[in-house]
């Protein structure tokens, strides 16, 4: 029986895919047949290694584009490259993100600007260019990685939470606007996930967060990647404008 998760022939761009959730997502989409375009702001060498790994492990097409998602011109140039090479884009995963924690009263202007540049502006820049490529084929799926913090808030995360709440607002509006073009826009709100972003947490905070997860385990990047796979695939072809929590029943 043919898998409903079959992504053969689909072109997918995953931003921030050198590590963590983005890397797990890129591998999952490749495993199910998509040609994956990796992106990160990190070193070209690392991206090239990741690209070769995808090609080797999944016998799949892969590409790597190094650019800053918060740089408007760089994003446009990247989509020009995608257009020239593939003439299409089927799946966009807006995953690139920057974590900034600080209490109210200790937030600098540059911290706000940098966090919003990556987490929020970058989502709009990519979504806009992707939608223009997708509308040519009257089909596409855009998945924005938000956060549980953008839904319910968290102490010390006014900036990060604000930037991720904005991602939810972007998702809801874009879903309404792009539905007539058969472009679906959904978001995933991960909870406590085992990535580099949490390795600086103190043991006390780590345990506090873990205790707030009803399933009593930390989420793995693959848990989020599997949700992305569902939203990228035809199994979710009638689903748009939804915010899917991947949080093990977490209460902040």
């Amino acid at each position: 029986m043919e898998s409903n998760f079959n992504l053969n022939g689909k072109i997918a761009l995953v931003t921030g895919s050198a590590g963590g959730i983005g890397w797990a997502t890129a591998k999952t989409l490749a495993r199910y047949g998509a040609s994956v375009i990796l992106n990160d702001i990190k070193s070209k060498e690392l991206l090239e290694e990741r690209k070769q790994e995808i090609k080797r492990d999944f016998n799949s097409e892969a590409d790597a584009l190094q650019f800053d998602v918060g740089d408007f011109d760089a994003v446009q140039n990247a989509y020009n490259d995608i257009f020239k090479k593939y003439k299409r884009l089927d799946i966009l995963v807006n995953n690139a993100g920057s974590l900034f924690d600080n209490l109210v009263g200790m937030i600098r202007k540059q911290d706000i600007e940098q966090t919003f540049s990556t987490n929020t502006n970058g989502v709009i820049y990519n979504l806009q260019s992707a939608a223009r490529l997708m509308q040519r084929n009257k089909s596409g799926s855009i998945i924005n990685i938000a956060s549980i913090v953008g839904r319910v808030g968290n102490e010390g995360q006014v900036v990060y939470g604000g930037s991720k709440a904005a991602v939810i607002g972007i998702t809801l509006s874009a879903a309404r606007e792009l539905a007539p073009k058969n472009i679906r826009v959904n978001a995933i709100a991960p909870g406590f996930i085992n990535t580099d972003l949490i390795k600086f947490l103190s043991p006390t905070i780590f345990n506090q967060r873990l205790n707030s997860v009803k399933m009593k385990r930390i989420g793995q990047p693959e848990d989020v990647a599997n949700a992305v796979l569902f939203l990228a695939s035809d199994l979710s072809s009638y689903i748009t404008g939804q915010i899917l929590g991947v949080d093990g029943g977490m209460i902040m």
């Binding site: 408007f72 446009q76 020009n80 257009f83 806009q128 260019s129 223009r132 490529l133 509308q135 040519r136």
Partner: protein, 78 residues
Amino acid sequence: MDNIQKLIKTFTESLEIEPEIVTDELSYGSSSWDSIAHLALVASIEIEFDIMLSSDEVIDMSSFKKAKEILGKRGIQF
């Protein structure tokens, strides 16, 4: 079909207007050329001429005359 005919065709089909209306005076906001039709027009032009326009070009394309100028800068001769 030469380039000017191709461009006129994208305008007539995207805006659902007659070819004789497609002159240099045709501008955004006139006839059926609203914001929704504009994006359909842009997509149609991009497919016809196999290019991807920048956001600034999409916004600046406010008339048939301007469309020719923008495409001209992309090496498409009229």
